[in-house]
């Protein structure tokens, strides 16, 4: 076709112009051919990429190199058998982190106490370490069976404020090493239905830790509030803490707030369970003091204004994260609700929360879907 056109042009165009014209054609052709030649898929050869050192890299000023050097655990390290001065704790509705199980401990400085707070995390004294071990049982139907420990995160309360460090476990499960740059680990397990599951588990960098643990621009713990620690049923961990003198300034037990266990209907009504799930997964950012304050979406369980929870609220600078939808929550219509759209996505530019998961929390998302479906219009 190019040739035909050029011949036709030749009939009535001066030679110099033909040259320009052909030159242009040639450059177009050249350009298209180049596009084709250069955009054909690049072959990724499967070479193993060697990790090399960068001169001057040193973490000894950051913290101890190994987890064992802290002396948190007695006996074989992988047994995570706490020393006498560690206090184990559990949360009613924990953060979803790609189905990882967690074993949590508080190390209080000797002779000190945690102070009760009605709405925020307990007031931990300087010197406190919060220890959180992330692991996957090989078979989720036997949660106490063989397991693969991935990382141990430490939040340490220093004079200058809280500090986050992460220790990544070796394959042999004999030691965990300080890794402030983050890491990626391929993890596989059998889920509660016996299905094979896997994920490229992401260990956060110290910078990413701040992404969630930031309140009023300071690093803070998120989980251990009284409402999360105040357990359902007979044995209540904080009752024991009070008896041991570890918890101070607590009002009478019947006044302690409590959130339900998100997937145990006997612990709370649908609305309360949905709000508990939203709080632990979202409210560290989505609160007036959090990094997502500009969004105007506030998801603490104490938030009572439906607009701030997202009902009828238009998005603010959500970009493509809005999925073209008009409102955070449209009562009765999860599929028209931005909130549902984003928790049900695993696309890095859309998904919420942004950090801490690669998988969709199918069961949690189902809870929120039901909550929006049954919401009064």
């Amino acid at each position: 076709m190019i040739l035909k056109t050029s011949l036709r042009m030749k009939v009535y165009l001066p030679v110099s112009k033909i040259r320009i014209f052909l030159g242009t054609l040639a450059s177009v052709f050249f350009f298209l051919a180049c596009l084709y030649a250069c955009t054909s898929e690049k072959k990724q050869n499967n070479q193993v990429i060697e990790e090399v050192a960068l001169d001057g890299t040193d973490t000894k000023d950051i913290g101890p190199a190994t987890l064992s050097s802290y002396g948190f655990f007695v006996g074989k390290l992988a047994d995570l058998q706490p020393a006498n001065d560690l206090i184990p704790y559990e949360l009613n509705t924990p953060l979803f982190t790609d189905y990882a199980h967690k074993l949590r401990f508080i190390k209080l400085p000797e002779g000190s106490t945690m102070k009760y707070h009605p709405s925020e995390v307990l007031d931990f004294p300087v010197g406190t370490v919060l220890i959180k071990n992330f692991y996957y049982p090989l078979d989720f139907r036997q949660p106490h069976g063989e397991r693969n420990i991935i990382e141990t995160r430490l939040l340490t309360h220093k004079e200058a404020g809280w500090e986050a460090l992460t220790y990544v476990w070796n394959e042999e499960q004999t030691e965990a090493y300080l890794q402030i740059a983050g890491d990626t680990r391929a993890v596989a397990w059998l889920d509660e239905q016996g299905q094979n599951r896997q994920v490229n588990y992401s260990v956060p960098s110290v910078t990413q830790c701040k992404g969630c643990h930031e309140k009023s621009e300071k690093l803070m713990p998120i989980g251990p509030t009284v409402r999360q620690l105040n357990q359902h049923g007979e044995a209540n961990q904080i009752v024991g803490w009070e008896e041991n003198g570890w918890l101070s300034e607590a009002p009478p037990k019947h006044t302690w707030p409590q959130v339900p266990i998100w997937d145990k209907a006997e612990t709370g009504v649908l609305d309360a369970r949905a709000r508990a799930w939203l709080e632990i997964n979202c409210a560290h950012c989505h609160r007036a003091e959090g990094p997502a304050k500009t969004s105007g979406l506030f998801l603490l369980t104490s938030e009572t204004n439906p607009l701030h929870v997202g009902v009828g609220k238009p998005p603010v600078a959500a970009g493509k994260g809005s999925g073209g939808l008009q409102y955070g929550i449209v009562p009765g219509k999860p599929e028209e609700s931005i909130l549902y759209y984003r928790i049900n996505s695993s696309h890095p530019g859309i998904m919420m929360p942004e950090l801490g998961r690669k998988l969709i929390h199918t069961e949690g998302v189902a809870l929120i879907k039901q909550w929006i479906e049954e919401m009064e219009k």
Binding site: D58, T184, T207
Partner: protein, 413 residues
Amino acid sequence: MRSAILFLGLAGVLASCSPDYLNEREGVQWKSIQKDLQTRLITAQSGDTIRLPEGYYMFSRSLQLDGKDSLVILGAGMDKTVLSFANQEEGAEGLKISNARAITLQDFTIEDAKGDNIKVNDTKGITFRRVKSQWTGGPKTENGAYALYPVICTQVLIEECVAIGASDAGIYVGQSDTVIIRNNKAYWNVAGIESENSSHVEIYGNEAFENTGGILVFDLPALTRYGKGIKVFNNIVRDNNLANFAPAGNIVATVPPGTGLMLLATREIEIFDNQILDNSTVGLAIASYDLVAAVSAESEAEQGTVPDGTAQTVNNNFRLDTLYNSYPNDILIRDNVYANSHWFPTLKSDFGKLFLLKSPFSVPDIVWDGIVDKELGRIDLCIQEKQDVVFLNLDAANDFENLSKDESVFACK
């Protein structure tokens, strides 16, 4: 003769894949400094220089630098220290810098991030010097949005850099104040260089070529701030005729291929002493956001495809932003050089077709959409070129009915 030219064309294809255009990565021995470099970015103290030795380094996740003051990240030279994110599994950006002060990035190549290659936000003092930022597969819709992307920053300097293959803008400064973009090269991007909602910006000495649009100065609604006070001078803006490969819905997806410079809803802007050459739709376009929103609505943006990154998309609710003025104004255009070896406006863009109809045998040099701010009732536009220019006032608000070629009404007084 024809076959000779075709042969030369083919030879040119082979030559063009040499390092000048696209870097060949076949057979490269990659190494990883992922952990040590990220560690250094965390442990760095004020005044530190982090040196990146010569070599090819592959990364599987974003590098992050947060809250640091006075830091230099220094490579061994463009194309000598190469940071590739072709194997990226986590994060959208290659290098992300936030809440920092006085950071200098110098003398390295960064490439193939899933989203933006380098994003810098909420930072006072950011210098990019001799940084090459590229997607090595050439122009592709799947490429990241921005090659160099400072946003919500002050005191931005981008000099002697090269940006290639961005599916939005190669060199992009957004919502920033006090910005110099000079002596850079940008090619094979949708937009070569773009200033968006930024103030006190000087763009000079750059070469923007073979993009869809060469240099864009845009003001968009519903962002943290608006732009003004922009000078674009002494640039070479040529051959920006690349097919638009931006993801549908993005604001730059509305830029017609063959656009040299484009001003969108900006004010207090001076365009002078530029060489505007061989752009096949228009040399310099001046448009209101109303036109862009209308064009975008007609082209029916595909739903469901969401690219990585943070590119600006067309906002059809822009009238809800009551502080936003969608009309360009206060524009001085003088002493630019226009030349075009294209005989006709291109048929590759709808605007090209329109211009072919209204201005056959000459690609228009300056086009204004003719949509005026109704409250103001006029546009303060002053044109003082040394040469004759082909001017079009489209009267787009009235279906091009009173389209005019008379630029004398806009002569500077």
